[in-house]
């Protein structure tokens, strides 16, 4: 009666399809005020004066500035450099300066427009290059938040032994998470009861910690409750600490509950995005196609404050050399400051950036040495017993060749590659190039595989091979010391107590499956407790593809911990049925009052990480994948469209096939947006296209069939053999699509998002 591996329905599915699920904006408290934020209009400068103007009844408003903060004016995270409210200086556009609250939303909006802030402007740093050039020093001594050096073997000695040395430079743009529920929080706060916050978030204990410092209150005076959360993708990892703090400051001063909900434009201009990046590769290869040395220089734009950039940089750095064995690797990476709003967590967390560069570069190297992209990779795939860039010995069974074979087979890669080459050539020799294919919707022609002579469509197919580490990097999980609890009820129900949040990815469902499986109970007998810091232990943040593998394992051991006291008190036999379990729980609780069990993270054996040298076991386990994209490019409009997508991956045991496929499909769609559609337009450090009408994410009409295949290789230290999955699908699509576009048009592009204008400039026709 195994429940792991079954597509059981989502725990909270019914309330979501009926509209009964309560998100933060659906909650109202008696006497509640609304809150808004007044933000900076310039990238960098000194605040000279703040005045409250216009025909506004200002005495009715609660007004909060930096001077009203009872505790520390910073968002406690890594370096504590980001203020809750700018005081004297501003370092990026849209930086919060003044908070206003009033019961009338419409008047509040009017008032926001009548707060006048005068500045003495200072020169800003608006790009990664300007920051590296130290044109202005805006952070520390050299604008660098963090740097890493990964050094394996001896790169310097390798160049002279190489038959080929190939260099390349690759860039990725910012990307908005674009969860459909914008950021929001409601706070109740006073000196007597402390501070309580309800909000849309991934990490209740991050918010909890931030509020402790903001208010200078003891931890038991702070309570954080996650409401149903309408998507996160990293965008609700660190930012909720900001908006929750703002709502709480207004509540503290007004003595009333305060709700703050960002509208879409504010959410897009003011909250975090994916770090833009630049990666330079220099690769030494022997004439038989073996990697000899890789030198990688990886830079990300962190924005105005440090926030999570060191950790994003770390993951990007470790993933930069990919699933290949190379004896000599040097990766030098930096996260630098600019006067843009801080960039932050976004699914993949640095890895999509560095993997994009690597997987474009692998194609470039293959071409230079005269091998097919697949043959070059086959000669260098990492195998069991070999070491990664951080000298981590791969101890899992791993078969990148097998994944590649399967991906090629299901995508019909070889046949298509041949056919497209022939048809593209026919098209080029056709007497009427550029004439429409006969259908206004060219993508229909493309989808149906129509690619006749005279068509304006060129087709291509490409792939990328990659891996993604699950859980916190290096010693991260050891420092986190995550805890999960389980509690049995008198009726023999099992409640899982964890701060890990359901944000759409299926936490509630897989935790219930893992718990039910461990105890041999029905799925419906397991309940997941709403994350509330007054009621659940800190199981760590809901990030880093760690919820299933790391926290799920703790769920498994916590619920198994319920069995021990029942057995040792003689109420339950070693072999038991569900009825036995329920009866035993009832009797135990009758006798002893309650039955609870807690489990704390313990690293798997043989995990060693050296933070100084950045060498060792970076992750407990990796997920491995090969993705294939088929594209068509309209040679008249230069629009590229993905027509078919195959995602083959090994993620350990799959707990729930429908949810797991849903993760992959959603991640691939989001990555297609990252590659071809989602272009953040910056002007003087501010996002110009802050609307869904001009920041274009893929719709139901844009997404190709996404065909998902899992190879299951149970991981010994994951719950029921599972590894992490959430971020993986963000890593591979961008390079696979650009490799396919190169195959279609014969010109390689090394930056994303790849807009039609960029293709037109290179005149690929």
């Amino acid at each position: 009666m195994s429940i792991v591996g079954k597509p059981v329905p989502r725990k909270e599915g019914r309330r979501k399809v009926t509209g009964q699920a309560l998100y933060v904006d659906d909650l109202n408290f008696p006497g509640m005020l609304h809150g808004v934020t007044v933000r900076s209009s310039i990238p960098r400068g000194r605040i000279k004066n703040i005045s409250f103007e216009g025909d506004i009844p200002w005495n009715e408003f609660t007004i909060v500035t930096a001077k009203d903060i009872p505790g520390e004016n910073y968002v406690a995270l890594i370096l504590n450099d980001q203020p809750y409210l700018a005081d004297e200086v501003v370092n990026h556009p849209e930086e919060p300066i003044v908070l206003l609250a009033h019961h009338d939303k419409y008047l509040l909006e009017e008032a926001r427009r009548h707060v006048r802030i005068e500045y003495e402007e200072l020169p800003g740093i608006l790009s990664l290059e300007e920051s590296l050039d130290n044109r202005e020093i805006i952070w520390g001594d050299d604008n660098v938040f963090k740097k890493f050096l990964v050094d394996k073997g001896n790169v310097d000695d390798a160049w002279s032994k190489a038959d080929f040395v190939v260099e390349g430079e690759y860039r990725t743009g910012a990307q908005e998470q674009l969860y459909i529920e914008s950021n929001g929080a409601i706070a109740v706060a006073n000196a007597e009861d402390g501070v309580s916050v309800w909000g849309s978030m991934q990490c209740p204990y991050y918010v909890h910690k931030a509020l402790i410092w903001l208010f200078g209150l003891p931890e038991e005076k702070i309570r954080v409750i996650q409401t149903e959360t309408g998507g996160g993708f990293g965008g609700k990892e660190e930012y909720p600490s900001m908006i929750a703090g703002h709502a709480a400051l207004l509540a503290w001063k007004s003595g009333k509950p305060v709700k703050m909900i960002y509208d879409r434009a504010e959410d897009m201009v003011a909250t975090t995005k994916r770090h833009p990046s630049r990666t330079r590769h220099k690769t030494a290869v022997t004439k038989d196609g073996k990697l000899l040395a890789m030198e990688i220089n990886f830079v990300i734009d962190g924005g105005a404050y440090c926030t999570l950039s060191p950790v994003v940089l770390s993951r990007g750095t470790i993933h930069a050399a990919g699933p290949y064995f190379c004896p000599n690797v040097r990766i030098h990476s930096r996260a630098v400051a600019t006067n843009l709003p801080p960039h932050g967590a976004f699914r993949g967390f640095g890895a999509p950036q560095s993997i994009f560069a690597l997987e474009r570069h692998m194609n470039k190297v293959a071409k230079a040495i005269g091998l097919t992209p697949e043959e070059f990779r086959r000669r260098n795939f990492i195998h069991e017993g070999q070491t990664t860039a951080t000298s981590q010995v791969i101890r899992e069974k791993i078969d990148m060749n097998g994944l590649l074979n399967r991906a090629f087979e299901v995508s019909d890669y070889r046949a298509k590659r041949e056919r497209f080459a022939r048809e593209n050539a026919d098209r080029d020799s056709s007497p009427t190039p550029g004439s429409p294919a006969g259908q206004p919707g060219w993508c229909r022609a493309a989808r149906e595989g129509v690619n006749q002579a005279g068509s304006r469509i060129k087709k291509g197919i490409g792939f990328a091979s990659f891996m993604h580490g699950a859980g916190f990097t290096g010693s991260g999980e050891v420092f986190l010391q995550s805890v999960v609890g389980a509690e049995a009820t008198r009726e023999g129900q099992v409640k899982v107590l964890a701060a890990s949040t359901e944000i759409g990815q299926g936490t509630n469902t897989i935790f219930a499956q893992i718990a039910a499986e461990a105890l041999g109970l029905d799925y419906d007998l397991v309940e997941i407790t709403q994350p509330d810091t007054s009621n659940v232990p800190n199981s760590g943040p809901t990030v880093a593809s760690r919820t299933c593998m790391i926290v799920g394992k703790l769920v498994e051991s916590a619920v198994l911990g319920l069995k021990q006291p029942l057995v040792s008190s003689g109420l339950l036999p070693e072999q038991f049925t569900q009825t036995d379990f329920q009866r035993a729980c009832s009797e135990y609780i009758e006798k002893f009052g309650q039955l609870k069990s807690f489990s704390k993270y313990d690293p798997p054996p043989n995990i060693h990480w050296d933070d100084e040298k950045y060498q060792g076991d970076a992750y407990g386990a990796f997920a491995w994948a090969v993705y294939v994209a088929e594209v068509s490019v309209d040679m008249l409009t230069y629009e590229a469209h993905v027509d078919d997508f195959v995602a083959v991956q090994e993620v350990g045991r799959v707990i729930n096939p429908v949810l797991a496929a849903g993760q992959i499909e959603g991640g691939v769609a989001q990555a297609i947006g990252f590659t071809l559609y989602e272009n953040v337009v910056w002007e003087n450090g501010r996002m110009l296209n802050s609307q869904m009408t001009n920041y274009i994410m893929p719709t139901a009409a844009d997404i190709p069939p996404i065909r998902v295949y899992f190879e299951e290789n149970p991981y010994a230290y994951g719950p029921a053999g599972a590894k992490g999955i959430g971020e993986l699908p963000m890593d591979g699509p961008a390079p696979a699509i650009l490799n396919a576009i190169e195959n279609a048009v014969g010109v390689g592009f090394d930056h994303i998002p790849l807009m039609p204008e960029a293709m037109m400039e290179r005149s690929v026709a």
Binding site: P9, R10, G19, T693
Partner: protein
């Protein structure tokens, strides 16, 4: 519009609010609202029908989808003055007596809902599509749902949900 003035009290006239008679989920309602208030806000704040969501506030994402007289509409773009005499249906009116609509059940069975914030609007759009095209092709489904954005699913499981609902 003349009829409103006769029904409205003096106090409401001063405030600028008007009275609106309409049907919401088959119940007769008399609403008192500013004429240009968004139908979305009136549904959520006055009638506490919070299943209708705001995603963008500009008619792009479809999270606020409702039916007005059987037609699919983004309620964030509708001034409430326009619904006098109209019949509105929201997600709360889709399940009857706790019995899920086939589309809702299909979304549960096929994994069509993840974070759930687009789901009410998506279900409305899908139900609306099937009323117009009972056996939609894949292209019909893609076109029919192209006005509803989902950031979680990549749409595959939503397409499956619609196909499943047609089979019932």
């Amino acid at each position: 519009m003349e009829g409103f003035a006769e029904n409205a009290s003096e106090e409401n006239l001063v405030s600028g609010k008007i009275e609106i008679n309409c049907t919401v989920n088959e119940k007769q309602k008399v609403l008192l609202a500013f004429p240009m208030e968004r139908l979305l806000d009136v549904l959520r704040e006055q009638l506490h029908l919070t299943g209708t969501k705001e995603g963008c506030g500009e008619g792009e994402c479809g999270a606020c989808t409702v039916f007005i007289n059987g037609e699919i509409v983004n309620s964030c773009l509708v001034p409430v003055a326009q619904i006098e005499g109209a019949s509105i249906q929201t997600i709360e009116g889709i399940a009857s007596d706790g019995q899920l609509d086939a589309m809702q059940q299909a979304f549960i069975d096929c994994g069509g809902a993840q974070c759930g914030i687009c789901t009410p609007g998506m279900v409305m759009a899908a139900v609306g599509l099937l009323e117009k095209v009972p056996n939609p092709s894949e292209a019909d489904i893609r076109d029919g749902l192209a006005g509803n954005l989902c950031r979680c699913t990549g749409y595959m499981k939503i397409f499956e949900s619609v196909v499943r609902a047609c089979q019932k």
